[in-house]
């Protein structure tokens, strides 16, 4: 290959060209992100719509195709943790407001709607599901200690209860969970609207201190998320609680089936929060944006969201559906409790926070140092300083002030 050909090819990558002859309309989603039944129905209803389910490595495929600027899907799923990273390139997506999204705004949760919009007001992601959080706890263990799960309203209450059952069990799964949830309860994250790094501010320090306190009180099990240890600990009651999003109920059911009936859900100590949830976006390569918008709004209408909850436990972003009988089913795993009610309350109170494109990348520095505190006994103050210097370095690298 000579130099000119190379530069031409490299140039194609850099400047972009979507030359392929495309027919129909493609929709990419990770497995389990949208109900298969609903997708199938959509494919029948909108001829030419071809949904593709991608398993692991969804992001790799999407990024490679976007980077190669070829065969980019017309409609794509965007994870909640990724969406803000696409904001600097909002022009790669169709602004859904230009397609009349605003007239549907009332049907969706305000904070969720906001998360799909850039600071300049462009809307690139349409709400799929949400992840309102709650406190999952073992009523059998709590009862023995005379602890009432729904009375644990603050982190202090929660930790105090943890100290009470310390002899027998660990209240906290790991420090990361405390930090993530405490941050999710905050209106401010790691970067503010003007592109300034605020990871050293009080709200972050507060979340950090909570995590460190759990360690100091000796109520932390220090287990890795998703490991067999976690499942065993939740089954045996060695860890009788966890703070998690609505979707964690499904993980709990499959991971700790033998503890069926013992679990309950209460409001999150310290206030409502959201963890997870996703969006659908239309890329600029889509040749029929109006039709794609029709597809999206059909897929994510309250009726389909209800179906999504029934099939996959996807918690709706449409508050009107919270009261539907399909959602308000007593759940045997939770002793017949209607857990949706608790999450619905939480969903309505989630604070609106500004999410910069770099939240996940910066938060990593804090998670990393907390895990050193937890597993290697690193002194918390030293860990905090290291977390700050790491986060600062990343902030400088990505051009934050």
């Amino acid at each position: 290959m000579n130099r000119r050909t190379f530069l031409a090819l490299a140039g194609l990558v850099a400047t972009g060209c979507a030359t392929e002859d495309r027919t129909g309309m493609t929709l990419w989603m990770w497995s389990g992100g949208l109900s298969e039944k609903v997708l199938e129905e959509a494919a029948n209803r909108f001829p030419g719509l071809r949904p593709l389910q991608v398993g692991a490595a969804f992001k790799s495929k999407l990024m490679t195709n976007l980077a190669g600027r070829s065969h980019v899907p017309d409609i794509t799923g965007l994870k909640g943790e990724d969406i803000s990273a696409f904001f600097p390139n909002a022009d790669e997506f169709v602004d859904l407001k230009t397609l009349g999204a605003d007239r549907l705004r009332e049907q969706y949760l305000g904070w969720k709607w906001q998360q799909g919009c850039t600071a300049e007001g462009k809307m690139i992601g349409f709400p799929i599901d949400t992840g309102p959080t709650g406190l999952f706890y073992r009523a059998d263990v709590f009862d023995r200690f005379g602890i009432r799960g729904d009375a644990l309203r603050t982190w202090d209450d929660y930790f105090d209860a943890g100290v009470e059952l310390k002899r027998e069990a660990f209240m906290i799964l790991n420090l990361r969970m405390v930090f993530i949830m405490a941050m999710a309860q905050s209106k401010r994250q790691l970067v503010d609207e003007s592109g300034r790094y605020i990871g050293g501010d009080d709200h972050v320090r507060h979340a950090w201190d909570l995590a460190v306190r759990a360690q100091r009180l000796g109520i932390n099990a220090g287990m890795q998320d998703g490991s067999p240890d976690v499942n065993a600990a939740l089954t045996t009651g060695k860890v009788p609680s966890m703070i998690g999003a609505s979707w964690a109920a499904a993980d709990l059911k499959s991971g700790a089936p033998d503890s069926k009936g013992a679990w309950r859900v209460a409001p999150t100590p310290g206030g409502a929060a959201n963890y997870g949830g996703s969006f659908l976006g239309i890329t600029k390569y889509c040749r029929e944006p109006e039709r794609a918008f029709e597809v999206i709004t059909w897929l994510l209408s309250p009726d389909r969201q209800t179906q999504g909850f029934v099939d996959l436990n996807l918690f709706p972003s449409t508050p009107d559906t919270f009261a539907r009988p399909e959602l308000r089913q007593p759940d045997d795993f939770f002793g017949g409790q209607i857990i949706v009610d608790t999450f619905a309350e939480s969903a309505k109170q989630v604070p609106i926070a500004y999410l910069s494109p770099y939240e996940v990348r910066l938060a990593w520095a804090f998670h990393e140092e907390l895990s050193s505190v937890e597993t290697m006994g690193k002194p918390p103050e030293e860990a905090w300083r290291d977390a700050q210097s790491r986060a600062r370095r990343i902030a400088d690298h990505v051009g934050l002030t």
Binding site: M1, L9, S60, M63, E92, Q224, G226, P228
Partner: protein, 288 residues
């Protein structure tokens, strides 16, 4: 030049495709390492910025050290055990087909499935290995939550998967040595050990060189094993963060393709360096 025409023709189909699918990606990587690119928007030339950040990035250096440690922990046992198994298989007659398949199974099994299994073996509180250690009266080891535990677990997975594979390669190498060599040595009264050391190993040198270089290149690119065992962040203390895992994280998770490419170039240099060292080491014996 005409004299060499057949040779050039013989390699030309290969190199034609090579230019397109091998060389271009390589040059592209180099080009990318001088850009700032989030994979979606426009590229911006930033000169040596990415490399400046790279050399001052302690996470990069840690990932380099992790990678080398895991590589040594996995490659040495893999190649040694592979060689032993090959010799034993070569001299043993019965059930060889069974043995061969049994040893080959690990290398064809999907890594994702294997990692789930290894996750339950190494799990700290309820894992199989700790249960065995417990039964033997030994202390439990926090396999997936301590620095060396993580490295040993990842290495164990690699050893498990590739030992049989390398044994098969060595076996193929042993086939190439005619049985006359063995017979002649026996007539000379050489012991088994001497035959092995003086005659068989030197004759196997090209094949050994292949396995050493291949495991250098493959081992320094360890990715999936670590990703599935300890997650994309590399586990507690980043003990399982390998270079390719770090590269992948930066490029595909954080959309920083320019920096990902710079890590890729760093990786390239390291792999090249160790390949040259290993090549020299293995070849030296040949001249002596």
């Amino acid at each position: 030049m005409r004299k060499y025409l057949p040779q050039y023709l013989a390699i030309s189909p290969f190199f034609l495709l090579f230019g397109i699918f091998g060389l271009f990606p390589m040059l592209f990587l180099l080009y990318l390492a001088f850009q700032n690119w989030d994979g979606v928007g426009a590229m911006r030339f930033v000169g040596l910025d990415q490399f400046r950040y790279l050399v001052s990035d302690d996470v990069f250096w840690r990932s380099l050290v992790n990678t080398l440690e895991i590589w040594v922990l996995s490659t040495v046992p893999t190649l040694f055990l592979g060689l032993v198994i090959a010799f034993v298989l070569h001299s043993s007659v019965r059930f060889t087909t069974f043995y061969r398949i049994a040893y080959f199974v690990p290398s064809v099994t999907s890594l994702v499935a294997v990692a789930i299994v290894f996750g339950s073996i190494f799990s700290s509180n309820f894992g199989l290995l700790n249960a065995v250690l417990n039964a033997l009266g030994a202390a439990e080891v926090p396999w997936l939550t301590s620095e060396w535990g993580i490295k040993v677990s990842i290495s164990a997975l690699i050893v498990w998967q590739w030992t049989g594979y390398n044994a098969i390669i060595y076996l193929a190498g042993l086939q190439a040595i005619s049985s006359d060599v063995f017979d002649a040595a026996t007539v000379d009264g050489a012991s088994r050990w001497q035959t092995l050391w003086r005659i068989v190993i030197p004759m196997m040198k090209p094949v050994i060189l292949f396995t050493v270089i291949a495991s250098t290149i493959g081992g320094l690119q360890t990715f999936t094993e670590a990703q599935i065992l300890v997650g994309e962040e590399g586990g507690p203390g980043q003990a399982g963060l390998t270079m390719v895992l770090y590269l992948y994280q930066q490029a595909f998770k954080h959309n920083d393709f320019g920096y990902g490419a710079a890590i890729g170039v760093g990786l390239f240099v390291v792999v090249l360096l160790f390949s040259i060292i290993n090549w020299r080491l293995v070849q030296r014996g040949e001249r002596a």
